[in-house]
Point group: C2
Chain length 147, copies 2
Amino acid sequence: MHDSSTTGLPPSWRATRQRGAVLRALHDAADFTSARELHGALMADGAVVGLTTVYRTLRLLEREGRVDIVRDEAGERLYRSRPADGHRHYLVCRRCGMSLAVAAEAVERWADDVVAATGFSAVEHTVELSGICEPCGTRPDRGSPHP
Amino acid sequence: MHDSSTTGLPPSWRATRQRGAVLRALHDAADFTSARELHGALMADGAVVGLTTVYRTLRLLEREGRVDIVRDEAGERLYRSRPADGHRHYLVCRRCGMSLAVAAEAVERWADDVVAATGFSAVEHTVELSGICEPCGTRPDRGSPHP
DNA sequence: TTCGTTGCAAAAGGTTTGCATACCA
DNA sequence: TGGTATGCAAACCTTTTGCAACGAA
């Protein structure tokens, strides 16, 4: 379960224990996760991986377009492995961190319109949505994630 | 021209030379500007203001909703005084930094739809658009801002 | 006079880099 | 074996904070 064919490592990379572990941890994380959290999860799991390696692996994945990245309010980068189906926008709960991929055709269309209207080229867009999810909204006192 | 009635300082603030200078520099900057750039512009202008004060003033403006904030790819915060008409989304040129307020009703509507569809509440959204503006696209070799 | 404001220096926090070592191919 | 990847420590950068001095009201 750790060879490159199942971890999904790009063929040009060397398949190392550390990269496999990072990739697996990233995949296991249900929601957007910071490098530190990822590193902590790896340690808790018994996988010994340096924080530096976590950062470097995430950076590689970023270059390959294999992760979506958002920033929390503090500016920390949060990563999530990008599904193959092209979803790229998320609604993240500010309280528990749960994230939800949302259909964004409307935004894509809008971005295209902007390109046409302004004369800009190579337009890229980032959309970040945050709110309070229904379970969290129902339990206003709880700060901890709901099961 | 430096009293609080023209600098637009909130009445609850103390009108100090430094805050007036930061506010003026922010207003003079055509496009999104970092705290460091603002500080540099102030120094170049002969206004002696500590970097700390620039940060603190920007933070106050942020709390009052008087500035729009985007993050560049490095995560640095860029500030721009918010026009009174409620524009809140911008298209920023990656080459020269020029920014353009864009109509975003479509996005606002879409965000509202998302709220309705997901059960999330208190949804906030951030949209960042970047591209290459027409003048920059016409002069592919130039890295400097065009006049 | 009073209390908010300033500025320096230092801390904080996340992310990157230098360099010697370990290891995949 | 050869070149990549790793990991530690230290560097980097932006932003925040502690604290004594300053100044607007």
